[in-house]
């Protein structure tokens, strides 16, 4: 029977889609193409912090499809569009295939030996003439734990500088600060399992539908099954997440701290506080760290009545009261937040205020209740927070300032303890400033794109241009490769094995199913070979397989709060990840921390546990802290000259600086270029029509960009997604940072906008 072209196309597309997700949609059609030729192997999605399990479909020596892993408890077979097109990223035309050195302003292809010798020689020169602190490393929350571990050892342990940072500084640092100061230890107490038990979701500063799609899907599924579930959103912008919202509060960007305080105020006033829980589990502290009483805290909250919060934040007092009552009345509540809270000059404080709500109402430590921070990157939790990839950390949630920690790590690394400096190195912004000033002369950048992703990016181009920059990347060109002196091709996802640790403390194994493309090599081996050429043969020659590195790393986590010592490769290969603490090879992993079922809680002596359902063992007396933080405005509030508040963010179809997703035609066509969202009221005032070219200007830069007149941002607010280097949103953002977490304030800048 002849098929019409349209029907044929439809049928073949359906077949492809069906086959790639493993179902046979068309009855009677035997699916020869995929059914027997494709072998599937489990892995983890390369993109967001959700950490979905995917199946890599391989035919011959090519990856032909990606489908969701039905057995994975995170996503149960569902994946989002980005994950669905992951296999096309591997074969992107923009893959970097061989090492290159810049000579006379042009990149020339060289051999690996030449490239590595050159880098080793230059780094050693710098180290000799200017000291180890003239070198730096800038890594990524998308690198595998093994890769970050190797870099950590090379820079902190062997070269002897703590100038080792990663892009999680730009995304998770405030959440770390929040967890440490409120609960005592980093990372959430709960897991995704809480979603199915929660009665209320508080989404603050998170566009979950676009940035953590599968978590959002789980929330939606939960809500559709249980229509009484309430969803409360606090965000200055209306987003696709709103479809399921019961109430949405729109604070002015950067002024939401008062709203959270006012909610706490109403919760205590109206008797929703869990006084028993407070008595046994909570300390109160003022902003300067002094202990205060519950009464003094209430006194402090008198400054934040809903009416006063309305005056500060622009959210109607009635809405705040309604939201607070919803939170108080719900039996269980789960808060989720991301960059809207973290990327702020008061990010840590904002984090504290969310924890406050949970601690005051005792909505923590029971199924369905948790202050649960969503991580942006797939391995920011695993590699960088746990693996110690920041300037003040060492592997296993350790600190460089702690002599005992330095000793433990130095012993395993096989380096003299004196090599590890006791002082934290330079945090990201300070590091790139030092590069500008010439205090840092050489930098190794791995798996990230700072020339595009740093706030006020153009300010830091000077340093990148002038100093010696080595970039290990899978893609070329990127914004950063323009500034690099040496380019090292790195193997991409599926071309290397390793472990990713996602938002819910789950570490998952990814197999190698392909040979690296071109001459690309695994980042960890690039670092190993570089280290050996720099003269650290003894320390690095012992690593032969990825498992060697992993085993050494998990031996370092033994006995730490994030104990992964039971998570061996053999187990991880079989299981769909393990949620730490996993103190032994027979331990199944831990669902809830600080409470029954947590091995560290169970081990505690009885007298400590008496009368308590939770023990925050990161704090000296096991009590979490409710902080009385004042509500501070953003670093750059709007004013007469710059009357609009500019916020930046992401879209569903793209990932960060777009080096991966923009190479996939399907995703590129969905959102081909950047735009600025402006409210119709503002647009009318300024005579801006939909799709006009406009100029958005801040005190730091200007950007010509297409206008999208739409009622998503509130009047007075602008929004730009930041995935494009051609329309670089970070020319506009501010480099002011949180004094505690050193995380910059991407989310609020004062701007003006006019027609081009």
């Amino acid at each position: 029977m002849p098929l019409k072209r349209r029907e044929f196309l439809k049928a073949s597309a359906a077949a492809a889609a069906a086959a790639s997700i493993g179902v046979n949609l068309i009855p009677g059609m035997d699916n020869k193409l995929f059914a027997d030729a494709v072998s599937w192997e489990k892995s983890v999605c390369r993109f967001c912090g959700t950490g979905c399990g995917v199946m890599i479909g391989k035919k011959g020596d090519k990856v032909v499809a990606i489908k969701g892993d039905l057995k994975n408890p995170i996503n149960k077979g569902h994946i989002c569009v980005k994950g669905f097109f992951l296999h096309k990223v591997i074969y992107a035309k923009t893959r970097l295939l061989y090492p290159m050195i810049k000579r006379n302003g042009k990149f020339e292809r060289v051999s690996w030996d030449e490239a590595l010798d050159y880098v080793a020689r230059r780094f050693n020169e710098i180290r000799k003439t200017d000291g180890p602190d003239a070198l730096a490393f800038y890594g990524s929350g998308q690198a595998e734990t093994e890769e970050t571990y190797m870099a950590n050892k090379l820079f902190k342990g062997c070269i002897g500088t703590n100038n080792m940072e990663g892009n999680p500084r730009l995304c998770m640092a405030s959440a770390v600060g929040g967890y440490l100061s409120s609960l005592g230890l980093d990372e959430p107490a709960g897991t995704y399992q809480d979603i199915e038990h929660a009665e209320l979701f508080l989404l603050v500063g998170s566009n979950t539908a676009e940035c953590h799609p599968i978590i959002f899907e789980r929330i939606v599924r939960h809500k559709t099954k249980n229509p009484t579930v309430k969803i409360l959103i606090i965000d200055p912008r209306k987003t696709p997440t709103d479809q399921v919202a019961d109430i949405h509060l729109f604070p002015k960007p950067g002024w939401d701290l008062a709203v959270l305080h006012a909610m706490a105020h109403v919760i205590i006033k109206e008797g929703y506080a869990d006084l028993d829980f407070i008595k046994n589990h909570v300390n109160f502290k003022s902003n300067d760290g002094k202990d205060i009483t519950f009464e003094a805290y209430q006194q402090f909250l008198e400054d934040y009545t809903p009416e006063k919060a309305e005056a500060i934040s622009g959210v109607p007092a009635g809405d705040i009261i309604k939201a607070a009552r919803m939170f108080g009345q719900a039996k269980t509540a789960m808060s989720m937040w991301t960059m809207g809270i973290n990327q702020r000059t008061r990010g840590v404080w904002a984090n504290n205020l969310i924890h406050n709500l949970h601690l005051l109402t005792g909505k923590i430590g029971v199924p369905g209740s948790d202050p649960f921070s969503l991580t942006g990157q797939p391995n920011a939790c695993g590699g960088v927070r746990e693996g110690g990839g920041l300037c003040h950390l060492l592997p296993g949630h350790r600190k460089v300032t702690n002599p005992k920690h330095r000793e433990e790590v130095a012993k395993v690394w096989g380096v003299p303890v004196g090599n590890i400096q006791p002082k934290p190195g330079k945090h990201t912004i300070a590091m790139f400033e030092a590069l500008n000033e010439g205090k840092i002369k050489g930098i190794y950048i791995m798996c990230t794109n700072p020339a595009q992703s740093l706030p006020y990016a153009q300010k830091f181009w000077k340093g990148l241009k002038e100093q010696f920059v080595v970039l290990a990347e899978s893609f070329y060109p990127t914004a950063t490769s323009d500034f690099a002196d040496v380019l090292l091709p790195a193997a991409f996802w599926a071309e290397k094995e390793g472990v990713y640790g996602c938002t819910e403390r789950r570490s998952q194994y990814m197999p190698q199913v392909l040979q690296p493309m071109g001459e690309a090599r695994w980042d960890a081996w690039i670092l190993r070979d570089l280290a050996m050429r720099m003269g650290f043969k003894k320390e690095f020659e012992k690593y032969r397989t990825a498992e060697d590195i992993w085993n050494e790393y998990i031996s370092l986590t033994k006995g730490r709060d994030m104990d992964l010592s039971g998570a061996t490769y053999a187990r991880l290969k079989k299981e769909r990840g393990l949620v730490w603490p996993v103190p032994s090879e027979t331990h199944p992993g831990t669902y809830k921390r600080y409470t029954q079922g947590d091995p560290f809680f169970d081990e505690l002596p009885e007298e400590k546990k008496k009368g308590r359902r939770m023990y925050f063992y990161g704090k000296p007396d096991g009590k979490a802290v409710v902080w009385a933080r004042p509500a501070k405005p953003p670093a750059e509030p709007t004013d007469k000259d710059f009357p609009y508040a500019l916020t930046t963010g992401r879209v569903l179809e793209h990932w960060h600086t777009g080096t991966m997703t923009r190479a996939v035609l399907e995703l590129a066509r969905a959102v081909p270029r950047a735009y600025v969202e402006i409210h119709p009221q503002d647009a009318r005032k300024l005579g801006i029509a939909n799709r006009d070219t406009v100029v958005v200007e801040t005190r730091r830069g200007k950007l010509e960009i297409e206008a999208r007149v739409i009622d998503r941002p509130e009047p007075g607010t602008l929004f730009i997604p930041w995935h494009w280097k051609e329309w670089l949103a970070n020319l506009l953002t501010i480099d002011a940072f949180d004094p505690g977490s050193k995380e910059p304030e991407y989310k609020v800048a004062a701007a003006r906008i006019y027609k081009a």
Partner: protein
């Protein structure tokens, strides 16, 4: 004065030339990716295919007027619209400008006045190819819909659903769909239906003043 000189202003000329270039780029981008969408749409304000074909003088003033290069001349010889202006939403969807320059530019009356403007159609999912129906999570169409949450929304079962009373048929969803061919298409209404007045791309723009013919 030379009639040619009069009819083409400098701006219009550049617009047209730019249009060719952009169209070329769009086509090159779509090459190997998208078979041209089969469903093309009549320009906004056209009543139905029959009356449009009989009234349109093929002066292409609307094509020149379209600021978004959504209106093009149909190049498909097999199509009844060959030589007439049309919208191929896969290439470039219609933004339903608040002042409808295409309708204003139309002298032949083929495109009606704004009060009798007709919606372009209604979007319809193809559940067999839609990624969201296939254990995926995708809501590119919803994210980009100017009437997000109204024209397309997740229903009580969490499934993507279209509300025909709110959908204008602008085709933005067809343009952005990540499936190939798109898993969403615009069906032209059998009986022409007016666009609800508050359902322009930009919902809060004031209604345009009535213009003298």
């Amino acid at each position: 004065m030379d009639p040619l000189e009069k009819s083409i202003t400098r701006k219009a000329f550049f617009k047209e030339v730019l249009g060719w270039i952009r169209q070329g780029v769009a086509e090159a981008q779509a090459e190997g990716l998208s078979p041209r969408a089969e469903s093309v749409l009549l320009p906004p304000g056209a009543r139905d295919c029959r009356s449009f074909l009989s009234a349109c003088s093929r002066c292409h003033a609307c094509v020149t007027a379209c600021p978004h290069f959504a209106l093009r001349v149909c190049q498909d010889e097999a199509s009844p619209l060959f030589g007439y202006p049309m919208i191929d939403p896969r290439q470039q969807a219609c933004y339903l400008c608040h002042d409808f320059p295409c309708i204003q530019a139309c002298a032949s009356g083929a495109l009606g006045h704004w009060k009798t403007r007709f919606k372009l159609g209604t979007a319809e999912f193809d559940a067999s190819t839609c990624l969201d129906e296939q254990q995926g999570f995708c809501q590119t169409c919803l994210n980009h819909c100017p009437h997000m949450g109204r024209a397309v929304y997740r229903d009580v079962r969490g499934r993507l659903t279209i509300a025909p009373e709110h959908c204008t048929g602008c085709g933005i969803c067809v343009m952005v769909c990540v499936q190939d061919p798109p898993a969403i298409a615009i069906r032209a209404p059998a009986v022409p239906q007016p666009v609800p007045e508050d359902r322009q791309t930009d919902p809060s723009f004031p209604k345009p003043e009535k213009r003298e013919a």
